[in-house]
Amino acid sequence: MLTISLTHYVVLSALLFSIGLFGVLTKRNAVAVLICIELMLNAVNINLVAFSKYITPLDFTGQIFSIFVITVAAAEVGVGLAIIIAIYRNRLNVDLDNFNWLKW
């Protein structure tokens, strides 16, 4: 029976990270981009927890670190959504492509 080892987690985390990255690069909707960033952050959490379990089983540094990451991610999403709402109020759309007033 296939035993789940550290490499599986790292590969999963890498895959999740790439998906998140792909989402950030292609999604046109600001909220979707924000979600994809969260995806990338959760990929890192997987990584951290996996390392904490397999490499330093005695202490919880990795897990503590992932808790910090989760809290910060939450704060980030809060602020990000607030900004997106503010933009929506001003420009009535959240399509990233036409936010290009600041250029050159």
Binding site: S13, V24, L58, A75, E76, I83, F99, W101
Partner: protein, 482 residues
Amino acid sequence: MTPFDFSMPINPAALTLEMLVAALGLGVLILGIISPKGARSGLGWVSFLGLMGIIGVAITMWGQSGELLAGMYLLDNYALFWKITFMVAAALVILGNMRYVDNVGHQAEYYSLTIFATLGMMVMASAGDLMTLYLGLELMTIAFVVLVCLRKKDNKSVEAGMKYILLAGMSSAVLLYGLSLLYGLTGSVIMLDISRIIAMQPVSSALVLALVMLIAGLGFKISAVPFHMWSPDVYEGAPTPVTSFLSMGSKAASFAIILRLFITALPGVWENWAMVIAILAGITIIIGNLVAIPQTSIKRLLAYSSIAQAGYIMVGMVTASEAGIKGVMFYAFLYVFATAGAFTVAAYFYNVTGSDELKDYAGLSQRSPLMAAVMLVALLSMAGIPPLAGFVGKFYLFKTIVDGYLWLVFIGLIMSMVSVYYYLRVALVMYRDEPKDPSPINVSGPVTVTLIVTMLVTLIIGIYPGPLSEVVNSAAHSFFLH
């Protein structure tokens, strides 16, 4: 691997500065809510005097050293110097732009967030491990994001905020990924342990990937070239005092953690990242200066010039030596004053005329000689023209890399002379052209004080850098004592 025991004594003395700043921030926030609408402008003076008090305390703490929680939080001259730099920067920004902030409104939020951002930077300065590093970084970034879109009504500010939050989020994800790999490879988050473990094991490709991720994540923060795309737009969009604090504080703090991370944690792989940093520095200097040439808005010009300045500071990192650190810290300190001067002038000019365009700066020398002189001195100090601080700073920086990376010295110095071109174009507009409306601009009290302080400090460091270089020497020396 030593397990983490909670019984370790925490000596609170190490955290006095951070606690004071946090208290000041909360105090300002509460005062803001309590005080009636009219008295909001007083908050500026409260936060300024508070900061000056804390700077006093920091100076008295000079020379103390210690660490907290088994190396997670380091306190030494190095961290103290950075903290003093951040607080000075914050104080200058607050003092210089009180009139601007009163026009914008939301004083409470502005001042408290600025102080919280400073707090974030101070945490980063004495971060001894990956977690504290990340926490300080995120505290600063999120505080800045809110500051950037302070003017909710102005599309530019909000667009800048949106760009900043999304790109910063992505870059911190990348950084985190690198940190997690680093943690995975070494099993510890304490930087000192990491360097010991890396020294023992051969360089694995995972470590190289971690290194790349770290360079990318932190490169974003100091706006090194391939990762700099966000900074011109955010600098232009954000309200000018925020841009000023962003370009001074955030960049300096990022350099504080880069030095900590790369020189304490990753000396083992120095051969790997030295040449990359050198190449990045070279490209940053070149592109930062070249793209600044065609700019027409003073803020965007200063944005690109600050990218170029980041390139110069990166030069100090290349040799990972005490002289290198000294060069970075010295240049960061004088860079703070030059940027504060330039942006205060830009902010006040925007306040009076409502425009950032260079052509509106025509005849500024006749309308207000002080503003024109301060702008000129600030710009020329960034260019590295001798009597000003930039020259001494660049001398220290390039002194370190002459042996191995002579090509970088050539790029650095020739590009800084090319930068004189667009700096002098600003001077040309200010000194030669006749002003459209020749009404003199009378500069209010606190702004004059900031302008004069920045100009004098830039001149004095330029002419007599002796004492400052002594202080920075002892700070850089304490870096290696752990």
